[in-house]
Symmetry: C2
Subunit: 405 residues, 2 copies
């Protein structure tokens, strides 16, 4: 029997049973004093927890700390701040992150080892600890607090990114929700990706880790705003088991349903992040079929979606499809030019490597849409992948060239 | 005895003995009808010739043809056009390129196999052959024609890129010259790199190939405007031997002097290309020392210089050095955060991984200069490399998002 997976209206990270959140304004970024910038997520029952962290070899202090704490695969709370990434801050950074976890733990009655920490913001500047410690006490947790948390994580994000799904299969039912932030800081900075996922399903730790990795690989790992990977990137999954008795493992009857639900939440949030890239006016979706392998399909799709020239052409609704071919060619994926088919939306512009005549007006109109779909068939094998990104606008440059001071 | 290498005032690709060039306007780009767009380079004596070509797996027709013809390592002429890249043009593209070579060969009395072809411009559009064939007859060759050639290759380039050096050692003397074009097309397009180098030194073919590869690796291959590699990139070296008796081979007394001269010409032209990147207002130079290997030093330097966030920060003279650390961290080069030293110009901002207090005004002033030097010591090994790029401005987006039509 197939699972039934539905989005929950106004769904968020506190939609699953037993999760509470809240946020406050600690004034971490002096220029945006009243913006909420500190949030807390809490589960009333202990959680099996898994994380996926930045591939950057320079890791922010909260990444180092949370990665360490997740070795045992459990957690009960997450504290997150925007406005300061606590990255490149040396030993002091690690101490500060640990102290925040300790204060949160004392406040809500957990072991400090069960509190995970995340930060996003300017690099190389220590956290304003006095402001943060007094703000932590002010956070009020509630079952609707996911919305506040989503807002507190925002920086140059133009909308809050949150969703949840309800998964039903036979007589089992559980919820998976999440909040995320994408590209941008009030102080221009890295396109840090933070995402916190919760579920009231019960999960075996190994299964939680695998399912999270799989979902992240086809969603967040296929989003590229500008190719710059932040030292602070982090996706966390907390499962408190309140809605189900027996934990799901990889062989379980519900394993596939959980994976599908998690993918649905991650794909939704990933597309939100791409759509809301700094300065973006359009979402770009690149689908590559017929690659020699999955890895090559991923490589090709990601290279095309992150090509500055492709992004700038889409921004200008310029039907300059040669740039897509050029980006494909330099991606490192195996190609035979004479086999490539290329479509913009539903209009084929290249067939077996040869340009087709096309209606220029129709193509421009298509490129002017809010979502631009580029699809290729390399006709070499069965590798398929989809990547998401956004156009490159003058606003991106404006946001990212403003003085830090 | 050390070689003496001097820049020649107004030096260009025809500064070496026996080289002639000329250009004309074929009207290949209808919107810039009177701009010179077709140029010819000719040597009165047969040349040993070597080339380095794009790594893009989708190669323009002229790349395929010239690469083939260089297998025997000889050439006598090069014909180049701007305005149309003759890329993604199928079989027709190869035939067109071969026909142009044949017409040039007939006009100047060479075998067509000794004529190399290069094109830059819009992809996926066939060459306007009628206009090109009638224009070829109009080209007048002269010993000063290098300047015209440099101008005919220009597209959105804002200045012509040409230079030459005179190399003297004991009683030997020879000249090396070159012209190049960088990033940009009148029709917004790929940042195609074309460079033609000439010398009146006599070279063994193997030595010519090695010396060219070495010089390109530390110069053009270390320039990044936007990470997009064109299907048309090409660097050619023609050596006619008119100034020297015995050909230089890798063991020769003059080998080192030739290599130094060639590097000097290539570095000069590469820096011109970086400085003149589309929309650029500043040259960025990134030097990485102390990497675990040469390859890792190259990787780190290139990743930093091509990071959109670093480029945008430099554009805004924003002393946001955390982005440099983040780009380094994601480059794939081995790093230990606690060992890294980072300088902007001569101001150290990170010592052994820890931020140093710095004078913000001084740093901003430094970033406002025409050339911004970023240097890092990873303190892990002896790998060193330098890369060049430019800042990311709104003008880059404007140039690259204009309608193709």
């Amino acid at each position: 029997m197939a699972a039934k997976i539905e989005f929950i209206p106004e769904g968020t990270v506190t939609s699953a049973e037993g999760f509470f959140a809240g946020a406050t304004s600690a004034g971490i970024n002096k220029k945006a004093k009243n913006k909420p910038d500190l949030a807390l997520l809490f589960s009333e029952a202990p959680c099996v927890a898994a994380g996926v962290f930045t591939g950057n070899r320079i890791k922010a202090a909260p990444v180092v700390l949370s990665q360490q704490r997740l070795k045992e695969g459990r957690a009960g709370a997450v504290v997150v701040n925007s406005g300061c990434a606590n990255a490149s801050t040396g030993d002091r950074g690690i101490k500060d992150a640990a102290r925040i976890a300790k204060l949160v733990a004392e406040g809500i009655g957990l072991s400090p080892y069960d509190v995970l920490v995340a930060s996003t913001g300017v690099i190389g500047v220590p956290l304003p600890m006095r402001r943060i410690t007094s703000a932590i006490e002010q956070v009020v947790l509630s079952g609707e607090g996911g919305h506040e948390m989503a807002r507190a994580m925002m920086t140059t994000d133009t909308f809050a990114k949150e969703t949840a799904v309800r998964v039903r299969m036979e007589n089992s039912q559980f919820t998976i929700g999440g909040v995320a932030k994408g590209s941008g800081m009030i102080h221009p900075n890295l396109a840090t990706l933070l995402c916190f996922l919760t579920t009231d399903a019960a999960l075996e730790l190994d299964f939680a880790r695998e399912a999270l990795k799989k979902a992240v690989d086809i969603s967040f790992n296929m989003v590229s705003i500008d190719g710059d990977t932040s030292p602070s990137d982090m996706v966390l999954l907390l499962a408190n088991g309140l809605a189900l008795g027996k934990p799901i493992s990889s062989g379980s009857r519900l394993a596939g349903a959980f994976e599908q639900g998690l993918e649905k939440v991650c794909l939704y949030l990933a597309r939100c992040i791409a759509r809301d890239g700094e300065g973006a006016t359009r979402l770009i979706e690149v689908k590559v079929d017929g690659a020699a392998s999955l890895a090559q399909a991923r490589l090709a799709a990601r290279t095309i979606v992150s090509s500055p020239l492709v992004k700038a052409a889409v921004h200008g609704a310029d039907p300059n499809w040669g740039r897509i071919m050029a980006a494909l060619g330099r991606s490192g994926a195996e190609v035979e030019e004479a086999k490539i088919d290329l479509y913009l939306g539903n209009i084929q512009v290249v067939k077996a490597g040869t340009p087709l005549p096309f209606n220029k007006r129709g193509l421009i109109k298509l490129l002017e849409g809010k979502e631009v779909a580029i699809s290729l068939n390399l006709n070499l094998g069965s590798g398929s992948a989809t990547a998401w990104g956004c156009d490159l606008s003058k606003e991106y440059v404006a946001i990212n060239s403003r003085y830090m001071t």
